[in-house]
C-alpha cells in the first residue's frame, strides 16, 4: 500500500469523462430540443472542432505546419459530389471512400512536400492546395470554375423530410467530431503517440531512440489527410453546393483552423476544443463587423503567440495543473 504509484488519470480527468459522457447524450438528443439554426451552428462547430484537432495533431505534435489542408477539405467535398453523382454511391459511403482516396493521394504529395523544411513546407502545402483547386476548376462535369449543386435525388437519400435530413447531417457531424477526438486521443496514448511526443520534444533525441521520424510523420500526414477529407465531405454535405473557391479556401479551412488551435493552445488535446468555443463565441459577437472580426481574430492570434504561446488552455493548465484528457503519466505518493 505504500510508495508512489504511477497513473495517467486524475480526478479532474475522471470527472471530465463523466461530464463528457452526459454531455454527449444531451448533444445526441439535440434534434429534439434545438432549433434548426442552432442545429446547423452546432454541426458547423463539430466540423471545425474536428479540423482543429486534426491540424493540431499534425502541427502541434508531428511538427508538420501545413497551411494547405484545404486541399483535403476540398478534395473530400468534391469526392462526395463526384462519387454520388457519377458513381451513384450513397453520400455517406461516398464521403468515407473520399477519405480512403485522400489517404492514397496524400502519400505521393507527402513524398514531395517533405523535401521542404519548416516554413517552406508550409508554403509548399499551400501550392499543393492551389494545384488541387485549379485542377478541380478544370473538370467541366463538376461545374468547372463555378461549381455545382448536389442533386435533390441524392440529398433525399439522407432522409425524405427536411427535418430528418438535417438531423442526419447533424449526427454525422457529431459522430465525426467524436471519432476524430477519440482517434487522436488513442493515437497519442499509443506507442506512436509516445514517438510523436518524443519527436516534438527533440527530433535529434528521437532519432537517437530509433524512431523513424520520416515514417512517423508520413503516417500522421496520411491519417490526418484522410480524416480531413471526410470532414470536408461532411462540410459540403451541409452546404449542398460546391465550387473550387469555396472548397479550397485558405481562409475558411486553414486560417480559421490555425487561429482556433493557436488561441486554444497548440500541442494539447484540450486546446482545439477551447479554441473552437472561443472562435464561435467571438464570431457570434462580432459577426456584424465582418472584416473587423477577422482583423481582431488575426490580432488575438498574434498576441497569444507572442505572450502566451501555449494558448488559453496553457494558461489554465499552468494555474490549475489540469488535464482533461490524461496523456501524461503522473507519479503520486499515497497521500496525494
Amino acid at each position: 500500500m505504500s510508495g508512489p504509484t504511477v497513473s495517467r488519470s486524475t480526478r479532474a480527468s475522471r470527472v471530465a469523462m463523466i461530464i463528457g459522457f452526459v454531455g454527449l447524450i444531451v448533444l445526441i438528443a439535440a434534434p429534439w430540443w434545438a432549433g434548426r439554426a442552432d442545429l446547423r451552428l452546432m454541426g458547423e462547430i463539430y466540423l471545425y472542432l474536428s479540423l482543429a484537432c486534426l491540424w493540431n495533431l499534425m502541427a502541434g505534435y508531428a511538427g508538420l505546419v501545413s497551411v494547405g489542408q484545404q486541399a483535403y477539405v476540398g478534395f473530400g467535398g468534391y469526392m462526395l459530389f463526384a462519387l454520388s453523382i457519377f458513381g451513384g454511391l450513397n453520400p455517406v459511403v461516398a464521403i468515407l471512400l473520399g477519405g480512403v482516396l485522400a489517404a492514397i493521394i496524400s502519400v505521393p504529395v507527402a513524398a514531395l512536400m517533405f523535401r521542404l523544411k519548416g516554413a517552406y513546407f508550409a508554403i509548399g502545402t499551400w501550392v499543393m492546395a492551389e494545384v488541387f483547386r485549379l485542377s478541380f476548376a478544370q473538370i467541366q462535369p463538376l461545374g468547372g470554375g463555378s461549381g455545382t449543386s448536389l442533386p435533390v435525388a441524392i440529398v433525399k437519400e439522407l432522409g425524405a423530410k427536411k427535418a430528418a435530413r438535417e438531423a442526419t447531417s447533424y449526427w454525422l457531424a457529431l459522430g465525426a467530431a467524436v471519432a476524430v477526438l477519440l482517434a487522436v486521443y488513442l493515437l497519442l496514448r499509443s506507442r506512436r503517440g509516445l514517438a510523436l511526443t518524443a519527436i516534438r520534444d527533440s527530433e535529434v533525441a528521437a532519432s537517437g531512440l530509433g524512431i523513424d521520424i520520416w515514417r512517423t510523420k508520413l503516417e500522421v500526414y496520411v491519417v490526418t489527410s484522410a480524416f480531413t477529407a471526410i470532414i470536408g465531405g461532411l462540410i459540403f454535405l451541409q452546404k449542398l453546393r460546391i465550387s473550387p473557391d469555396a472548397a479550397f479556401s485558405v481562409n475558411d479551412w486553414t486560417a480559421f483552423v490555425i487561429f482556433i488551435v493557436v488561441i486554444g493552445g497548440i500541442g494539447t488535446l484540450e486546446g482545439p476544443i477551447i479554441g473552437t468555443l472561443l472562435f464561435f463565441a467571438l464570431r457570434e459577437v462580432l459577426a456584424d463587423f465582418g472584416t473587423i472580426y477577422l482583423m481582431v481574430l488575426g490580432a488575438v492570434a498574434i498576441v497569444v503567440m507572442l505572450k502566451a504561446p501555449k494558448g488559453v488552455w496553457g494558461l489554465i493548465r499552468e494555474r490549475f495543473d489540469l488535464e482533461l484528457f490524461p496523456l501524461s503519466y503522473r507519479v503520486r505518493t499515497k497521500d496525494d
Binding site: V65, L112, W126, E130, L294, G298, M305, L306
Partner: protein
C-alpha cells in the same frame, strides 16, 4: 513558331516581376531564416499605397515610388523590431503563425479601406506602348519591369557582397552571438534587412499594379509565385531567384498558350517538377 517564341519572351519578362516578388522573401530568409507569410499581402499593400499616392498627388506611379518605398521600408523596420524579432528562435511556429495573422490583418484592413473592387495603377502611355523585336511584339512596361528586376537584383547583390551593411547581414546570418560581439545589434540589423526587403516589395507592388488590376485578396497568390521562384532558383542565390522567376513566368505563359485556364497551374507544375527532380533548386548556393 513565332507565336511560341512570343510566349516565351512574354514569360521571361513576366519572370522579372516574379523575381521582384521573390527577392525580398529571399533576402529576409537569408539574413534571419524568417519566412514571411504576409509577404504577398505587403506587395498588395504597396500597390494600394501607390494608388493613393498617384490619386492624391496626381503623379505617375514611378514618381509615387519616391514615397511608397520609404513608407514601406519604415513599415518594415517597425514591424520587424516591434513584432517579428520577438518570434525568431529555434521554433518555426511563432514566425509562421504571427506572419499568418499579419496576412489576415493586412488583407482585411485593405478590404475595409479600399473595398474589394479591382483597381489599377495608370502609367499613361507606357501602359500600352510596345516594341517590335524581330516580329515579336513586346510591351514596353514588361520590358522596363524586367530591366528594373535585373537592376534591383544587381543592387541587392552589391549591397550583400560589397558593402559594410551586407557584411553585417552575412555576419548576423552566420552567427548571431558573435556578430553581436562585433558591435552589431542584431535587432537593428534585422530591422534594416526587413526595411530593405519591403523597399523592394514597394517596387514589386507598384509594378504589379501597373501591369494588372489588383484587389485585397490576391496577396496569397503573389507570395506563392515569389516562393516558387525562390525554390526553383535555389535558396540563398539572388541570381538563381531571377532565373527561377523566369522559369516560372515562361511555364505560365506557355501554359496559357495551351489553354488560358492552364496558366497558373502550369507554373505550379513546373515548380513541383523542379522540387521532385532537384529538391535544392536549380542553382543552389555553393558552400564556401
Amino acid at each position: 513558331m513565332i507565336e511560341w517564341s512570343g510566349a516565351i519572351v512574354q514569360g521571361v519578362l513576366l519572370g522579372g516581376l516574379y523575381a521582384l516578388f521573390a527577392a525580398g522573401l529571399s533576402l529576409i530568409f537569408g539574413v534571419m531564416r524568417l519566412v514571411n507569410i504576409a509577404h504577398g499581402d505587403l506587395i498588395i499593400l504597396a500597390a494600394y499605397l501607390g494608388l493613393s499616392t498617384t490619386v492624391m498627388l496626381g503623379v505617375h506611379p514611378f514618381v509615387a515610388l519616391l514615397i511608397v518605398m520609404p513608407v514601406m521600408a519604415g513599415i518594415g523596420y517597425v514591424l520587424q523590431r516591434g513584432v517579428l524579432n520577438r518570434t525568431l528562435g529555434p521554433d518555426i511556429l511563432p514566425p509562421l503563425l504571427v506572419t499568418f495573422g499579419l496576412s489576415v490583418i493586412i488583407q482585411n484592413a485593405l478590404l475595409e479601406t479600399y473595398t474589394a473592387d479591382p483597381r489599377k495603377l495608370s502609367g499613361g502611355a507606357i501602359d500600352t506602348a510596345s516594341l517590335d523585336l524581330g516580329g515579336i511584339t513586346v510591351g514596353v512596361l514588361p520590358l522596363v519591369t524586367f530591366g528594373i528586376a535585373v537592376a534591383v537584383i544587381a543592387g541587392l547583390q552589391f549591397v550583400f557582397y560589397r558593402t559594410a551593411l551586407g557584411r553585417g547581414f552575412r555576419a548576423v546570418s552566420d552567427n548571431q552571438d558573435i556578430a553581436q560581439l562585433m558591435g552589431l545589434n542584431k535587432a537593428h540589423v534585422f530591422g534594416v534587412a526587413m526595411a530593405l526587403a519591403l523597399a523592394v516589395v514597394a517596387i514589386a507592388g507598384v509594378l504589379l499594379g501597373m501591369r494588372t488590376s489588383f484587389d485585397p485578396a490576391i496577396g496569397g497568390g503573389r507570395l506563392i509565385f515569389g516562393f516558387e521562384a525562390v525554390i526553383i532558383g535555389g535558396l540563398g542565390n539572388l541570381w538563381g531567384t531571377l532565373a527561377g522567376g523566369v522559369i516560372l513566368g515562361v511555364a505560365q505563359t506557355i501554359g496559357a498558350k495551351i489553354d488560358p485556364g492552364f496558366q497558373i497551374l502550369a507554373g505550379h507544375i513546373a515548380f513541383l517538377v523542379v522540387l521532385a527532380v532537384r529538391p535544392n533548386g536549380l542553382f543552389p548556393r555553393v558552400a564556401h
